[in-house]
């Protein structure tokens, strides 16, 4: 083999190795999706999406649905967003706009640790702090727990997207005699808008699939929303309970619930694509990729 063909061979070999690794990485993902669709899709029906679950039944008999779980997950998404997004965005503003000091450096470190914090520990903490002190499981406790997971993600993505706003924009505003807070609220934040939306949607997609923090905060339920001081159901909890049950009909429902959860997360991710595509700003799109 001449050195020329050998070098060409090495070039090809490297490409084939990379391609092989991509296939290894993609196979599990595709097979999971395939499995969930194959087993979950037959479950989907209006009744399945809107009815409360029934006691385990024999094959062929109606088995109720996952209505309360879907409702619960939507309630949790709204509550968590209301609590977490304002706090996360303001923290991100602090880090990006006032972040040139040691307090911000400490905050940034804590924030990074929180981003990777085991979610079961968050669940236990909120159980002790909220559930025990209020005396009952509740959607509020669940939203607080999920907020702890959402806030650091939103803070970090906000910080990153504010840093993409050129300094000349801030100077233009400050040179007009506009106060710092007004410059941030009226000039800098709107310019970072699509980055903020991206970060928030990705964080919501992340918390929508969280299970561990919910076990000890909303507990799970058979019923539709009963009030802010009662246990509630959510999709990840429903999947977990259904799939670990001994009854085939419930296991099948678990697959259906898994498919619904995947669709919820997928639609949030499509929302991110739409939000970033509206402005053909590559930097914001890249930010979205990193945060995933």
């Amino acid at each position: 083999m001449t050195s020329y063909t050998y070098r060409k061979f090495k070039n090809r070999l490297f490409f084939v190795l990379c391609l092989g690794c991509v296939i290894i990485a993609v196979v599990p993902l595709v097979s999971i999706l395939f499995e969930v669709i194959a087993r979950g899709a037959p479950q989907l029906s209006l009744q399945f999406l809107t009815q409360p679950p029934q006691p385990p039944s024999l094959p062929g008999q109606p088995a109720g649905g996952i209505g309360p779980a879907i409702q619960g997950t939507l309630i949790l998404i709204v509550l968590t967003s209301l609590i977490g997004i304002p706090i996360g965005v303001m923290s991100g503003v602090f880090l990006a706009e006032y972040g040139n000091n040691k307090y911000a450096a400490v905050t940034r470190t804590i924030n990074d640790v929180l981003t990777e914090f085991p979610s079961i520990v968050v669940g236990i903490t909120v159980f002790l702090a909220v559930v025990l002190s209020l005396g009952h499981f509740s959607p509020i406790a669940g939203a607080v727990a999920l907020s702890f997971i959402l806030i650091p993600i939103v803070a970090r993505t906000t910080e990153e997207s504010l840093k993409l706003v050129p300094n000349s924009t801030r100077e233009a505003s400050l040179a007009l005699g506009v106060r710092r807070w007004r410059t941030i609220v009226s000039v800098v934040l709107p310019e970072a808008g699509s980055g903020l939306v991206t970060g928030s949607l990705l964080a919501v997609a992340r918390i929508a699939g969280e299970t561990a923090p919910l076990i000890m905060t909303i507990l799970g339920s058979q019923y539709f929303f009963q009030g802010f001081n009662q246990p509630m159901d959510a999709l990840p909890l429903r999947i977990w309970r259904d799939v670990t049950s001994p009854y085939p009909s419930q296991i099948a429902q678990g697959w259906g619930a898994a498919l619904v959860l995947i669709l919820v997360v997928l639609s949030l991710n499509i929302g991110v694509r739409v939000a970033t595509a509206r402005r053909s700003n590559g930097a914001h799109a890249r930010l979205g990729e990193i945060r995933k």
Binding site: A172, A175, L176
Partner: protein, 270 residues
């Protein structure tokens, strides 16, 4: 109050009259961290005149004008010493709010920087809206007047709702001038306002600068000596952070007193 002695120290143009002094720097020095960018600059800026600051890159021109509206201190690690007077009052005194100074001393930057999320109209109105000065109907009049003064009205009057970044670079720079004018400042600082523009757009801005001095006091930083000669009444030559020469533009270009100035304006370096 400033004593007469202070004023005599400034190398001002010979025909200076005390009443016509809009701004004055006395022993102004500025630093970025350890690096000293300005050394003891003392000069006066006359009301309703155009003063050009010239000098080679890195000589402290931009830093100088950014000290005149307290923008310099926004850079992390930046500090200054000395005094800067606006109508005879020190703008660096403890009880002076820099935000209010910036409303009186407006600024136009090197690169046109209209707010990208705002329309042409909103860009001009931004200063008034965000400082809470004006709202409502009279805003329309101010926006129109400002755009007219910036000689941009005829070109954009049908597109006021379009984004501020949708027009050409030269138009954007005039939009930025209109945005500064809308606040009715007393002084307008321009930091190399034409360096990102083509010759045609530059000519328009230069015409505009000359017309602006009827109502405002203008300080323009430029690295283009012909531009300084064309638009300014007074010229200050800075070199390595020091004020080498200051006087009427005519004198400076026809009869420079310092050897370095002569070398610079004849293009021997810089």
């Amino acid at each position: 109050m400033i004593g007469d002695a202070d004023i005599e120290k400034t190398p001002a143009a010979s025909d200076s009259a005390l009443s016509s002094e809009k701004m004055q720097t006395i022993g102004l020095s500025a630093w970025f961290g350890e690096k000293r960018a300005l050394k003891n600059i003392s000069l006066t800026i006359k009301t309703n005149s155009v003063t050009a600051i010239i000098g080679p890159s890195g000589c402290g021109k931009s830093t100088f004008v950014r000290c005149l509206n307290r923008m310099h201190e926004l850079v992390p690690g930046a500090r200054m010493s000395g005094r800067v007077l606006l109508d005879g009052r020190d703008i660096y005194k403890r009880d002076v709010d820099p935000v209010l100074i910036r409303r009186r001393v407006g600024m136009v930057f090197q690169k046109p920087n209209p707010f990208p999320t705002m329309s042409i109209y909103d860009n001009v109105a931004a200063g008034l809206r965000l400082t809470g000065v004006k709202r409502g109907k009279s805003l329309d009049d101010i926006v129109r007047q400002s755009l007219e003064q910036a000689t941009l009205w005829d070109e954009v009057k049908d597109d006021l709702k379009k984004p501020g970044t949708s027009i050409s670079g030269g138009q954007q720079q005039r939009l930025c001038i209109a945005r500064a004018i809308a606040l009715q400042p007393e002084v307008i600082l321009m930091d190399e306002p034409c360096s990102a523009l083509d010759p045609t757009a530059t000519a328009k801005i230069e015409e505009l600068i000359v017309s602006l001095k009827q109502n405002y006091t203008v300080v323009i930083v430029t690295h283009n000596m012909q531009q300084a000669a064309r638009v300014s009444d007074f010229t200050a030559f800075l070199y390595l952070g020091e004020l080498i020469e200051y006087g009427s533009t005519k004198d400076m270009f026809e009869n420079p007193t310092s050897e370095i100035t002569e070398k610079y304006i004849t293009g021997k370096f810089g």
